[in-house]
């Protein structure tokens, strides 16, 4: 039996678990689409600039929808949730907040395309696994949102898979840089499967599959791709910098928040 918004609002145990999950989903998409937007004008070629911007725009749309669901659950306005929460309240995985590379958008951006491709491909595959599970979530509004996100995700996954396979197949420097990037991403990949302190409650309430289930679905999806590319997946996915679901973050997140909320903080009563 699925719960509606009205059901959730009178069941605090359920409401707060659903909200925790939504914060993770919203914050993941929000910070990664911000990192994507920093590539605007810097992507390898103009078609990629168009494609990547479009993907980042979709992803920001997903974040906005998840923040909207949080607003309905009484967590505050979507704009405030996106812009005004300090780093220690953010629930995104640390992998997604890491800078694109040395430099900044305005000053000598020496962004790492290999890292970007691997991070986006692995995250998008992880998001697909979660969305598949969320389609049968016990929270009705979330399961409906998942159906919508899934259709757009189809194109994102196709895009990143193409880049990943082509660069891995290219050999030479491309292969070397991709393997280095993959090694780096695997050191934090565990963070995207973490459901945080309330993970078991979320699972027992039927909101989403458990961490292990999500992880093994990811491995099942990725194994044939890695095999074809003769790449050996490490046996463990780590969280070297900590678990973002519990509010642990790096300086990279703080810097990003300072930049992205600058206009919002300037005049909070401005109409957008």
């Amino acid at each position: 039996m699925k719960k509606s918004l009205q059901d959730a609002l009178i069941d605090e145990h359920f409401r707060s678990a659903a909200a925790q999950l939504l914060f993770q989903l919203a914050d993941d998409d929000f910070i990664l689409s911000y990192r994507g937007s920093e590539w605007l004008g810097l992507a390898p070629h103009i078609e990629e600039d168009v494609a990547f911007s479009s993907i980042s725009q979709d992803t920001m749309g997903h974040a906005a929808m998840f923040y909207g669901l949080l607003e309905e659950l009484g967590e505050g306005s979507a704009d405030t949730l996106a812009h005004a929460r300090p780093a220690e309240e953010r629930k995104n995985a640390i992998l997604l907040e890491k800078v694109n590379g040395p430099g900044t958008y305005l000053i000598e951006p020496q962004y790492d395309w290999a890292f970007t491709v691997v991070r986006n491909y692995f995250y998008t595959a992880g998001k697909k696994v979660k969305i598949d599970s969320l389609k049968s979530s016990s929270y009705q509004p979330l399961s409906e949102a998942a159906v919508k996100v899934n259709m757009e995700l189809f194109y994102h996954l196709l895009h990143w898979k193409t880049w990943f396979s082509q660069l891995m197949k290219a050999g030479g420097e491309a292969r070397k840089r991709m393997e280095k990037a993959a090694e780096e991403v695997f050191q934090e990949l565990g963070g995207i499967f973490s459901l945080g302190e309330k993970g078991e409650i979320m699972n027992s309430l039927g909101l989403i599959s458990g961490e292990e289930g999500l992880k093994s679905a990811w491995i099942t999806m990725m194994k044939p791709v890695f095999q074809e590319l003769q790449y050996n997946m490490p046996s463990q996915f780590l969280m070297m910098s900590g678990d973002g679901r519990n509010g642990e973050h790096t300086e990279d997140l703080q810097t990003a928040l300072n930049t992205l909320s600058e206009v919002y903080r300037l005049d909070r009563s401005a109409s957008w």
Binding site: A51, F52, S53, G61, V147, M151
Partner: protein, 155 residues
């Protein structure tokens, strides 16, 4: 009031109305207001706020119409087969191929050239100038063109 809604066009493709795009899910007349439920094509579409405002403005011009309350809902999800036959023709007029009705099992699809009708086309970029469009090229009449992406719950 429905006639007024027909006058609200897609801000980015001004030959097609939001009704022809299949965005209108529910229209309900209550005592003090008209509630209009619309389905966004893509969640991140920046045109949504403009569409909302244009719907409100269009209904304000109808004599005796109550104020409009515009809501965007995502259930049922918008799919590209909601575009009406008139809508498909309007897209073509604008130089955009209507969303293909068929997709292969691997997710590949093709669209005919909206200018000369040829099927001899190639995909240049799945992602186009807006979230809902792709960029293609016609090898027959040598025109670049856009196509509306197929979106379905089977994906």
């Amino acid at each position: 009031m429905l006639i007024a809604l027909h006058s609200v066009k897609d801000p980015e493709i001004d030959s097609i109305s939001i009704i022809e795009l299949g965005m209108l899910e529910e229209f309900e007349l209550r005592e003090d207001r008209a509630v209009i439920k619309l389905l966004p094509t893509f969640m991140g579409c920046p045109a949504l706020d403009i569409i909302k405002k244009n719907v409100e403005l269009a209904l304000m011009k109808v004599e005796g119409a109550p104020p409009a309350e515009v809501l965007f809902i995502f259930h049922p999800p918008w799919t590209s087969d909601r575009v009406t036959d008139t809508g498909r023709a309007r897209l073509k007029e604008f130089g955009i191929a209507p969303p293909p009705r068929h997709m292969t099992e691997t997710g590949e699809w093709q669209a005919d050239c909206p200018y000369c009708g040829s099927t001899y086309t190639t995909m240049e970029n799945l992602f186009g100038p807006t979230a809902c469009r792709s960029i293609l090229y016609c090898k027959s009449c040598r025109n670049p063109f856009e196509a509306m992406k197929p979106i379905s719950t089977l994906m």
